[in-house]
Amino acid sequence: MARMKFLCDSDRCIECNACVTACKNEHEVPWGINRRRVVTINDGKPGERSISMACMHCTDAPCAAVCPTSCFYTTADAVVLHDKDTCIGCGYCFYACPFGAPQYPRVGNFGSRGKMDKCTYCAGGPQADNVSAEYVQYGANRLAEGKLPICAEMCSTKALLAGDGEMIATIYRERVQKRGYGAGAWGWRTAYRETLSV
C-alpha cells in the first residue's frame, strides 16, 4: 500500500490560496472551518516564504494518542481519519496536534465545540465510499475514485504535492537538483519522523 503524504515546496508556494478554496469548494466546508490554510513567515520582508498547511496525516498521530474516545483510525494508505459519531468535541486533539489542524464548528457557552473537523486527505470517513451520508459529514472521497487531494491537484505552481511519500519525495528531489536550491520538506520530521535529503 502507498504511504500518503503531503509536501509543500516553499520555494514555489506563492500564497495564492487555491488549495484553501479548492478544499472549501470540494467539500462544502462551512465558513470559519479551515481544513487547509496558507501560513506566511517574514510577511513583506526579504525571506518571505509561504507554506500551505493542513493535517499532515502523521505517523503515530499524536491526535489519536490523546483522543479519549479513540475516534481516530489510520487507513491502509496511512491517512489519519476520525469518526464524528464517536467524537465528543473535547479538543484534546487540538492541543496535541503540532500543525493546528483540528477545527471546531462552534464556540458556545461552556466551551462546547461541536464535532472536530479536519483534512481527510480527500478520503471521506468511515461510511461506505461516496454515499451522501459520508459527504455530509466528511466531504468528498476522491481517494476512492482514484484521485488525489484536490488542494494539491489544483495548486497553481505545483508547490503542494500529495501522493505516495516515495513518489513525491522523488519529484521534489529532482526539482531541487535541477534548480539548485530547496528549503526542504517542511514538517516532515515532526509528522513522519524522517527528513528528505537531497
Binding site: 510577511d43 516564504r49 509561504s50 489544483m154
Partner: protein, 973 residues
C-alpha cells in the same frame, strides 16, 4: 490581527454572523437547506425560485450521485487573462463539482483561489435574481419586458432631446468575444462612439504604446514561452497575486534555465519574494529607471547593434535622451543605486533571451503610454523581440480584456483596430451588409461619427461639466453599464455627483455592482440580471492572443439572461419605443440579420463567423468556431512550451488557440502566431515582421526593414503593406482569382489587405512568403505622440516638488471631447505635499478581482479577506502612533476625501509609501452602504474604495487614469 491572510481563522465570528443572517435580509439558501434537512420538499416556498430550479438546488450541496453519469463540460475561468480551463461536473443541469483540467497547456490542472472557487459564482446566493427598478428610492422587482420597455423609452427620449451621443455605453472585458463585438456594433447602430470598457483603465496605454512602436497592441509572446527566458524583469506588476497560474511558467523558467528573475517595484510584492533580485523604486519613476538601464547598456556597448540597424527607427534620438540619465541623476530621481541598476541592465542585455513583463504599475499613470514606449525601446535596444523567450509579455487583467479591446469596445475605433475614419466605417458597413449612408444617418453628424468618444475615466465629467466645454451636442444623460464595477475609476466623490445627475442609469450584470449603490438615486435606475460566461457559449481571448471556446456549463440561473439575449431584446424594445415616438430609426432587423437566432438570442457561432469575415486587420479571420472547438477537444495534444499541436493529431502544426494573427480563411488552416514579429518562421507558419503603419519614410530615412525579412519571403528586404496598387506594381495582381478580382473590382477596385473581403490580397502576399501588413521598422521615436521620445514627468501629485521645475507634466490640453488639465493641477502639489506626505498606490489581492462585487460575494473568497486595509511602513506608523490592525483614516488631497480602513503595518512598502487594494466598495467616506443593495444581493464583504481617495491625472494619449501615484495622509481613527 484580522487582516493578515496568514491567519485565516481570525475574523470568523464577526462576519460569520452577517454571513449566516444575510445582513440586509433574505434567506441564505444553504442555511435554509440545513433547516429543511436537505429535503426537497418545501423548497418551492422560496418564491423567487422556479420549481425546477428548486429541485436542482438540493443537488447543489455538492453531493454527486455516483450512481448516475456525470457530464464534464469545459469552459474558461472568468477572472484574469491567463485563460485557465475549468472542467465542470454537471448532473441534472446543476454544477456539482470541479475537476482539474490536466490537458490544458495553459494551466495544466491548476487554479488560483479565484479559479478554484468559480463554481460558487453559478450557485449565486448573492446574485441579482431578477430585473429591478428604483421607485422612490426603493428597489422593486419587475419583469424583463417591463424593464426593457421602460429603459428603451427613456433612451429614445434622451436620443430625441439630446442626440445619440448623450448615451454612454459602458461594456465589459467579461464579455465573450462575440458579446464584445456585438456591443460595439450596438453602439455603432445607436450612433455614438461613446462606448468603452475596462481596457481604458488597465492597459489602454499599453495598447497605444506598443502599437505605436511595432504595430500591434498586445503581448508579443505567451505565458508558456516565458519558460524559455534566461532573464525576466517584472516591472510594475505582481503576477503572484494578479495572475497566479502564470507563476507556474515563470518559476519553471527560473528553475529550468536558472534564469534571473528581477522584480522592479515600489512594493516588495509576493512576486518579489520569489525573485533573484528586487529593486525598489519611487512610484512614478519608471522612465528614469529604464533610461538608467539603457545608460549602462549604451555606455558599455551591450546593445544589439545589428537588430537596431535592421529593424529599429530612431534609436539615436533615444541615445540623446538617455545620455542625460547618469547613474547619479537616476538615483536622485528614483532612489535606485547605480551599481544595482548596472547589474540588472547587464543581465537583461547579455543573458538572452530576456523578457520584460509589465502590468498596471506601468500603465495606470499620467505617463502610461510613455512608460510603455520606454519599456518597448529597452527590448528593441537589446534585440529582445520576436524570438523564443523574449518579448513584451504584457499580462492583461480580465478574462477577455484582450478580446474586448480587439473588438473595439473603445471610444476610438471600430472592431479590430480599424479606427473611425470613413474607410473604416465603409469597411464595417460592407461586413454588416448595410449602406455607409445609413450608418451616417444614425449619428448626430458625419463629424461625430469620426470623433473619438468620451472615455470611462471621465464619464462623470461629461455629465457635470458645463455644456460648452464638451464637444458634442449635449452632456451625457443616460448610461448603460454592462459588466463593470463603479469603484474602478478614480475621483469617486465626483462620480457620485455625475451619477446623481444622470436621467437614466442601467446596470446589466450578475451583481448589482457599486454603480447601483454609490449614488443617492431615487428613480430611473434599472438592474438587469446577466449570467456569467459559465452560463453562456462563446470564445474568449487570453492575454497571449489565444482564443478558447467556452461551452455553457449550466443554463442561466434565476431570471438572468446572456449578454446576447439582453442586447437582442433591448434592440427590439428600442424599435418599439422608436415606433411609439414616431422616430424613423430602427435597430434589430439590420443589426441582427446576419445571425442565426435561437431562443430569442443570436448564437455565438454565427457572430464569430461575422467576426471572421471582417477582422482582417488583426488576423481574427482563421479562428472559426469549429477550429476553436477542435482545440478545446484536443487540448492534450499541444506542447507545453511551443504551444504547437503534435504531429499526427487533428491539431497538428496549429498553435494552441490560434493566437492572432491567424491569417486568411479558416479553411487555409493558418496555425496562428505564437510569437509576434518572429522572422524565424514563414508567415504561413506563424512568422511575422514589424508592421509599417506610419508611412515608408520619414525625413529621408526609410521606415522599412533593412536586410531583415521573415523566413521564406521572396522580397528579401523591407516592404510596405499590400494593396491592390502594390500588387499591380509587383506584377502579382493577376494572380488573384477571377472571383477575387470580381469582388475587388465590383466594390471600387482599390483595397488593402485589411479591407479586401475577398481575401485575395492576403492570399497572394502570403504565397510569396510576405506578411500582408508589410515589413517595417519598429519606431523608437513615435512622432505622433505628445512625447515622441519618452521623457520623465513627475506625477501630478508628487512629494518631490523640488523636481517639478525640471520634470513638469504636460500643459493643459483637450482630448476626447473634454478638457484635460495638467500643469494647473500639478502646481497644487506644492501646497498639498506638506499636508499629504505619503505616496498612495493601489493594486490587487489574489482573492479578489476588479471592482470585487463578484468575488466579495463568493463566500470561499470572502472568508479569506474580510477587511479593507492600508499597508503602511513601520516608520510612518510609529510617527503617527498607529498600531498594526487598528482603524485609521486615510485622507486624500481632493474633494475632502477620506476612507476608514484598517492599518497593516509592514515593510512591504517603503517609508513614505502606502498601498491599498482596489477591490473594495460598499462603504463610502466612512458610511456603510449595505442597506442600499437590493435585498439579498449585498456582497459578503464591503469596504472603502481606494478610488474615493485617488485623484485627477490622465495619460494624454488614452485618458488612462492615475491610480498608482497620488498623495495621502494617514491618521489613527
Amino acid at each position: 490581527m484580522l487582516i493578515k491572510r496568514s491567519e485565516g481563522r481570525a475574523a470568523r465570528q464577526r462576519l460569520a454572523a452577517s454571513y449566516q443572517g444575510l445582513s440586509s435580509g433574505g434567506l441564505d439558501r444553504r442555511s435554509f437547506l440545513r433547516q429543511a434537512g436537505f429535503a426537497g420538499a418545501g423548497l418551492a416556498a422560496l418564491g423567487a425560485v422556479a420549481p425546477s430550479r428548486a429541485r436542482a438546488a438540493g443537488a447543489a450541496t455538492g453531493v454527486i450521485n455516483h450512481a448516475q453519469p456525470v457530464q464534464r463540460i469545459k469552459n474558461i475561468c472568468t477572472h484574469c487573462s491567463v485563460g485557465c480551463t475549468v472542467t465542470a461536473e454537471v448532473q441534472n443541469g446543476v454544477w456539482v463539482g470541479q475537476e482539474p483540467t490536466w490537458e490544458s497547456p495553459i494551466n495544466r490542472g491548476t487554479h488560483c483561489a479565484k479559479g478554484a472557487a468559480v463554481r460558487e459564482l453559478v450557485h449565486g446566493d448573492r446574485r441579482l435574481k431578477y430585473p429591478m427598478k428604483m421607485v422612490g428610492g426603493q428597489w422593486q422587482r419587475v419583469s424583463w419586458d417591463v424593464a426593457l420597455n421602460e429603459i428603451a423609452d427613456k433612451l429614445m427620449a434622451v436620443r430625441a432631446e439630446s442626440g445619440p451621443d448623450s448615451v454612454f455605453w459602458l461594456g465589459s472585458a467579461k464579455f465573450s468575444n462575440e458579446g464584445s463585438y456585438l456591443y460595439r456594433k450596438f453602439a455603432a447602430f445607436w450612433g455614438t462612439n461613446n462606448v468603452d470598457h475596462q481596457a481604458r483603465i488597465c492597459h489602454s496605454t499599453t495598447v497605444a504604446g506598443v502599437a505605436n512602436t511595432w504595430g500591434y497592441g498586445a503581448m508579443t509572446n505567451s505565458y508558456n514561452d516565458i519558460r524559455n527566458s534566461k532573464t525576466m524583469i517584472i516591472m510594475g506588476g505582481n503576477p503572484a497575486e494578479a495572475h497566479p497560474v502564470s507563476l507556474q511558467h515563470l518559476l519553471s523558467g527560473k528553475e529550468r534555465n536558472r534564469a534571473k528573475m528581477i522584480v522592479i517595484d515600489p512594493r516588495y510584492t509576493r512576486t518579489a519574494a520569489h525573485a533573484t533580485e528586487y529593486v525598489r523604486i519611487r512610484p512614478g519613476t519608471d522612465i528614469p529607471v529604464i533610461w538608467g538601464m539603457l545608460h549602462h547598456i549604451f555606455a558599455n556597448g551591450w546593445e544589439d547593434k545589428e537588430f537596431i540597424r535592421q529593424r529599429v527607427y530612431g534609436m539615436d534620438e533615444i541615445r540623446a535622451e538617455v545620455a542625460k540619465w547618469t547613474p547619479a541623476e537616476v538615483e536622485r530621481v528614483t532612489g535606485v543605486p547605480g551599481a544595482q541598476l548596472r547589474a540588472v541592465a547587464e543581465a537583461f542585455a547579455k543573458e538572452k533571451p530576456a523578457t520584460l513583463i509589465w502590468c498596471m504599475g506601468a500603465t495606470q499613470k499620467t505617463v502610461g503610454t510613455a512608460n510603455v514606449r520606454a519599456f518597448s525601446i529597452l527590448l528593441l535596444a537589446t534585440g529582445n523581440v520576436g524570438a523564443d523567450g523574449t518579448g513584451a509579455n504584457i499580462f492583461r487583467g480580465h478574462c477577455n480584456v484582450q478580446g474586448a479591446t480587439d473588438f473595439g469596445l473603445d471610444v476610438g475605433t471600430l472592431p479590430a483596430y480599424y479606427g473611425l475614419e470613413e474607410g473604416a466605417w465603409r469597411h464595417w458597413s460592407r461586413v454588416w451588409g448595410v449602406s455607409y449612408d445609413s450608418m451616417v444617418e444614425r449619428f448626430d453628424s458625419k463629424q461625430m461619427m469620426g470623433a473619438p468618444g468620451i472615455p470611462t475615466t471621465r464619464y462623470f465629467d461629461a455629465v457635470t461639466l458645463p455644456k460648452d466645454q464638451i464637444q458634442q451636442r449635449d452632456r451625457l444623460k443616460a448610461m448603460v453599464v454592462f459588466g463593470h464595477g463603479g469603484n474602478t475609476v478614480t475621483r469617486m466623490p465626483e462620480a457620485v455627483k455625475g451619477l446623481e445627475a444622470l436621467d437614466l442609469l442601467v446596470v446589466a450584470d450578475p451583481h448589482p455592482t457599486t454603480f447601483a449603490v454609490l449614488a443617492d438615486r431615487r428613480e430611473n435606475t434599472y438592474l438587469l440580471p446577466i449570467c456569467t460566461q459559465f452560463e453562456c457559449d462563446g470564445s474568449r481571448t487570453a492575454s497571449n492572443r489565444s482564443l478558447q471556446w467556452g461551452h455553457r456549463v449550466v443554463a442561466p440561473i434565476f431570471e438572468s439572461k446572456t449578454d446576447y439575449e439582453a442586447m437582442y431584446r433591448l434592440a427590439g424594445a428600442l424599435d418599439a419605443a422608436a415606433e411609439n415616438r414616431n422616430m424613423p430609426v430602427r435597430f434589430r432587423e439590420e443589426m441582427f440579420k446576419p445571425y442565426e437566432i435561437r431562443d430569442d438570442a443570436p448564437t455565438a457561432e454565427s457572430i464569430l463567423r461575422e467576426i471572421n469575415r471582417g477582422s482582417l486587420s488583426t488576423g481574427y479571420t482563421g479562428q472559426s468556431p469549429e477550429r476553436l472547438k477542435l482545440h478545446m477537444e484536443h487540448q492534450d495534444k499541444f506542447d507545453l512550451v511551443t504551444l504547437r499541436g503534435r504531429e499526427g493529431t487533428p491539431v497538428a502544426g496549429d498553435f494552441y488557440g490560434l493566437p492572432w494573427p491567424c491569417w486568411g480563411k479558416p479553411e487555409w488552416k493558418h496555425p496562428g502566431s505564437h510569437i509576434l514579429y518572429n522572422t524565424n518562421l514563414h508567415v504561413k507558419d506563424g512568422g511575422g515582421t514589424f508592421r509599417p503603419r506610419f508611412g515608408v519614410e520619414r525625413n529621408g530615412v526609410t521606415l522599412l526593414a533593412e536586410g531583415s525579412w521573415s523566413e521564406g519571403s521572396e522580397i528579401r528586404d523591407g516592404y510596405p503593406e499590400f494593396t491592390t496598387a502594390v500588387l499591380k506594381r509587383l506584377g502579382w495582381y493577376d494572380e488573384l482569382t477571377a472571383e477575387e478580382k470580381a469582388w475587388i473590382e465590383g466594390n471600387g477596385g482599390t483595397f488593402s489587405w485589411a479591407t479586401d473581403l475577398s481575401f485575395g490580397i492576403q492570399r497572394v502576399a502570403m504565397e510569396y512568403g510576405c506578411v500582408p501588413y508589410g515589413n517595417g521598422k519598429a519606431r523608437a521615436v513615435a512622432w505622433n505622440l505628445p512625447d515622441p521620445v519618452p521623457v520623465h514627468r513627475e506625477p501630478i501629485y508628487t512629494p518631490r516638488v523640488d523636481l517639478l521645475a525640471q520634470y513638469p507634466t504636460l500643459p493643459d490640453r483637450r482630448g476626447f471631447r473634454l478638457p484635460h488639465l495638467g500643469v494647473t493641477v500639478q502646481n497644487r502639489s506644492r501646497e498639498v505635499a506638506p499636508n499629504f506626505p505619503i505616496i498612495l498606490t493601489s493594486g490587487r489581492l489574489v482573492e479578489y478581482e476588479g471592482g470585487g462585487e463578484e468575488t466579495r460575494s463568493n463566500k470561499w473568497l470572502a472568508e479569506l479577506q474580510q477587511d479593507m486595509f492600508v499597508e503602511i511602513n513601520p516608520a510612518d506608523a510609529a510617527a503617527r502612533n498607529i498600531r498594526d490592525g487598528q482603524w485609521v483614516m486615510v485622507s486624500g488631497p481632493e474633494n475632502n476625501s477620506r476612507a476608514r480602513v484598517k492599518a497593516l503595518v509592514t515593510e512591504r512598502v517603503g517609508p513614505g509609501v502606502a498601498f491599498m487594494p482596489f477591490h473594495f466598495a460598499g462603504w463610502f467616506m466612512g458610511t456603510d452602504q449595505r442597506a442600499r443593495y437590493p435585498q439579498g444581493t449585498d456582497p459578503i464583504v464591503l469596504g472603502e474604495s481606494v478610488n474615493a481617495i485617488t485623484t485627477y491625472g490622465y495619460d494624454p494619449v488614452t485618458f488612462m487614469q492615475e491610480t498608482k501615484v497620488t498623495l495621502c495622509q494617514i491618521s489613527a481613527a
